[in-house]
């Protein structure tokens, strides 16, 4: 599929969204078929696009641009780009997206507003796919905002629930605090680079000339211009990808329907931030030891560790997954900062699969247990839902980095690049600690939900976990979660070389080399050790959630309170940012009431007086004068019309009289 036709990929779901908005609310079945079908078709096209990038044999990047509109002499061009990064992202988003769509068909079978749901979901996917193919930062920003809008609609899908409405609002506001940075950075870039095209035959803002000039220019404080701009863009990516300190919206976003959570966390929303940075990587990397890459690394590693810590104290099934997403996004940022886009994208792809798998599995659990999400009231589902248990375990093992599953390889690549980072060793240590915590909290969740005694009274025996629409996506995602890692092992880094445009060579030596082998051992140790540790603490014979409190709570109540309340960051924001905003608002209101209001009223009174005067003049002078003239004209006309009596002799009389008058006047003139 040539690059000219790349627009078809986002256009299909967009068209579906358009069609669905026109369907009646009763056409739920048709709606789900249309949406899922268009998404699968999108996936097929994405596959064709990917094949195109493979064909060339070497690194291929084709673009297709056209003029959007002209103002004066300046023409704004937008267009699509097709290179390995786009192709990989397209494949991931459309494949994971269509599996999630398929799962939604079953998950929302009884939902009344199913048509609306699928319309919004298609719109979401379309916006994300548009973001991926954009060859212009402005077009990317537009789609970025559309993704934000769609996520707002979907998180608040059950808007009658106050928590859902609040969560949607929070997600929108917090991500837009980040978007402000992105926006300012974009404007700045446009003003200094003169273009927002990514690749434009040497003149684009990601190509040699511009990147070099931006890297060479410095502003106040000796920072390179490229660094300042990318730091601003990073702020936007942090908002979208839930990095500390803008992560607070992501756990709350769990109020949306579970497939939405899966889509947000796996493919669509949070991946956008990482993708943006991967796309802009040439700019981030414009100067050696670029400050923005250092910032990305630090933010990522701190987030990875912090979120893993918080996940340890959560009791909501989906919230634990949300925190794990934040943590994994941190790993992606860390990989991006230390190892470049290939490392980050590898983890993004593997993560998309196992995280979607985990969320959809959680969806099955929630559905079967009468919408119970508190892990303390779930339990023993291993026997009742063996299939779900199996795939969930695969996802969990992949996330925990169990040897030879996908998460293991992608995380190992991140460790590899973090270990050799020259600036500091702390991010590596944080990442290692985070990996250990990941294994612990995931095992804790597994034990709570699937092991022990059955504690849930509203379990629905009628729920079939093996229904086609439920089982197929889960099975497909599980396959991905197992196998995808082998695309990018140290020995045969097919994925990385594809992204960077080199030919992969099979080199077992790299795997056995001291650094790699050590890291593999370390990863294995971390995940297996973490799981063993958690099993030791939480195993059913040791701990009964129905009667006892969480062991961590018993042992370290003070620390656990911090974990449970997510380090009180929400409260802290409420006390500072929210309260500050409210205070500012109240101040503005007082100012409004005391100063601006009276000024406006005074102006209004002045204008009113002037208007009143002019009305008076109008009525008294103009109208009266005019009336008088009119009356005179009418009277004169009446007098004349009386003279016209229809008798010819009267008229002759007038003529005679006028003649006499003329004669008299002539005589008078003659005399004088």
């Amino acid at each position: 599929m040539a690059v000219e036709w790349l627009w078809l990929i986002p256009a299909l779901p967009l068209l579906a969204a358009g069609v669905l908005t026109l369907l009646p609310t009763t056409a739920g079945r048709a709606a789900s078929f249309v949406a899922t079908g268009s998404m699968f078709l999108s996936f097929v096209f994405s596959g064709l696009a990917w094949l195109t990038t493979l064909d060339q044999g070497e690194f291929s990047r084709t673009t297709f641009d056209f003029v959007w509109f002209k103002t004066g002499t300046a023409a704004l061009k937008i267009g699509w780009v097709l290179d390995p990064l786009t192709a990989v992202m397209l494949l991931t988003v459309s494949l994971v997206g269509s599996l999630i769509f398929l799962f939604s068909v079953g998950y929302l079978a009884r939902e009344e507003r199913r048509v609306t749901f699928f319309a919004h979901l298609s719109f979401f996917a379309a916006a994300m796919l548009g973001l991926v193919i954009a060859n212009n930062l402005l077009l990317l920003f537009v789609c970025w905002e559309l993704v934000g809008l769609a996520s707002w609609l979907l998180i608040g899908f059950w808007f009658r629930k106050p928590e859902a409405a609040a969560a949607a609002r929070k997600a929108f506001v917090v991500t837009h605090i980040g978007d402000m940075g992105f926006f300012v950075g974009m404007i700045w870039l446009a003003s200094v680079a003169g273009t927002l095209q990514f690749f434009d035959a040497g003149a684009g803002c990601l190509e040699e000339t511009v990147v070099h000039s931006l890297g060479a220019a410095t502003i106040l404080g000796g920072l390179a211009l490229s660094t300042v701009i990318t730091l601003l863009v990073l702020w936007g990516a942090m908002g979208k990808s839930g990095q500390v300190p803008l992560h607070v919206w992501l756990p709350d976003a769990m109020e949306g329907p579970t497939p939405v959570s899966a889509l947000i966390h796996a493919a669509a929303m949070v991946a956008a931030g990482v993708y943006l940075l991967a796309r802009l990587f040439p700019l981030l990397d414009a100067v050696p030891d670029s400050g923005s890459l250092v910032a990305v690394t630090w933010v990522g590693s701190l987030t990875a560790f912090f979120a893993a810590l918080v996940a340890l104290g959560q009791t909501d099934l989906k919230r634990i997954l949300a925190w794990s997403t934040i943590s994994q996004l941190g790993y992606m940022m860390l990989g991006l900062g230390t190892g470049g886009p290939a490392v980050a994208m590898f983890h993004l792809v593997t993560h998309a699969f196992f995280k979607a798998l985990l969320f959809l599995g959680a969806g099955s659990v929630i559905q079967a247990c009468g919408h119970e999400q508190d892990i303390r009231r779930l339990g023993g589902l291993r026997r009742r839902m063996p299939f779900t248990f199996g795939v969930y375990a695969i996802g969990m093992l992949a996330l925990a980095g169990f040897p030879f599953l996908s998460g293991f390889w992608s995380k190992e690549a991140i460790f590899h690049s973090a270990q050799v980072w020259e600036v500091s060793r702390i991010p590596f240590v944080l990442a290692v600690a985070g990996a250990l915590l990941t294994a612990v909290y995931m095992t804790r969740q597994m034990v709570y939900v699937f092991f022990g005694e059955h504690r849930n009274s509203s379990f629905q025996k009628s729920f079939s976990e093996r229904a086609v629409v439920t089982a197929v996506p889960l099975a497909a995602l599980a396959c991905g979660a197992i196998t995808l890692g082998f695309l990018g092992t140290q020995a045969f880094p097919l994925f990385q070389e594809y992204l960077e445009g080199e030919t992969a060579v099979l080199a077992w030596g790299d795997l056995i080399g001291w650094g790699s082998l050590g890291l593999i051992a370390l990863s294995t140790l971390l995940s297996v050790g973490g799981m063993a540790l958690a099993w030791g603490i939480y195993r059913p014979s040791q701990f009964d959630p129905a009667r006892q409190q969480d062991p961590l709570n018993r042992w370290f109540p003070r620390i656990f309170r911090w974990l449970e309340n997510q380090f009180f960051l929400d409260e802290w924001y409420r006390q500072t940012v929210v309260r500050g905003t409210c205070l500012a608002g109240r101040g503005a209101e007082v100012l409004d009431r005391l100063i601006w209001g009276p000024v406006v009223r005074l102006c209004a009174a002045l204008v009113q007086t002037v208007a009143w005067c002019s009305r008076l003049a109008d009525e008294q002078l103009v109208n009266r004068g005019f009336d008088r003239v009119c009356r005179a004209v009418r009277q004169g006309a009446a007098w004349c019309s009386e003279r016209q009596n229809g008798r010819v002799q009267t008229y002759i009389k007038y003529v005679g009289a006028s003649l006499a008058l003329v004669v008299w006047v002539l005589i008078l003139i003659d005399r004088s």
Partner: protein, 103 residues
């Protein structure tokens, strides 16, 4: 009767008589006769000014009068025809009773 003013006086007298007849009499034919009188007063003026003017040899005054007589004849014909048409329509010849020349 050998100065211009005598002729002019005569013509003025004739004109006034014509006007009087036109204004006073009610019969339409008499009104028409009054108009003819006034026209003839004007003709007399033409002749008088020509005869006592600076160039009595040329026949221009006479020419005017001839024209004027021809027009008067045509006018009389039209006037009589009008009177006849009015009579046929309204069965009156009294101009007092014709008062529709307005609007």
């Amino acid at each position: 009767m050998d100065s211009l003013s005598d002729y002019l006086l005569l013509s003025a007298l004739l004109f006034s008589l014509g006007l009087c007849v036109t204004l006073v009499r009610r019969h339409a034919i008499l009104v028409l006769i009054g108009i003819e009188l006034m026209l003839n007063a004007a003709n007399l003026n033409f002749i008088a000014f020509w005869r006592f003017g600076p160039n009595p040899e040329a026949l221009d005054g006479l020419l005017f009068v001839l024209f004027s007589l021809a027009v008067a004849a045509a006018e009389a014909a039209v006037g009589l025809a009008l009177i006849l048409a009015v009579y046929r329509r309204y069965s009156v010849t009294d101009v007092e009773n014709i008062d529709e020349l307005k609007g």
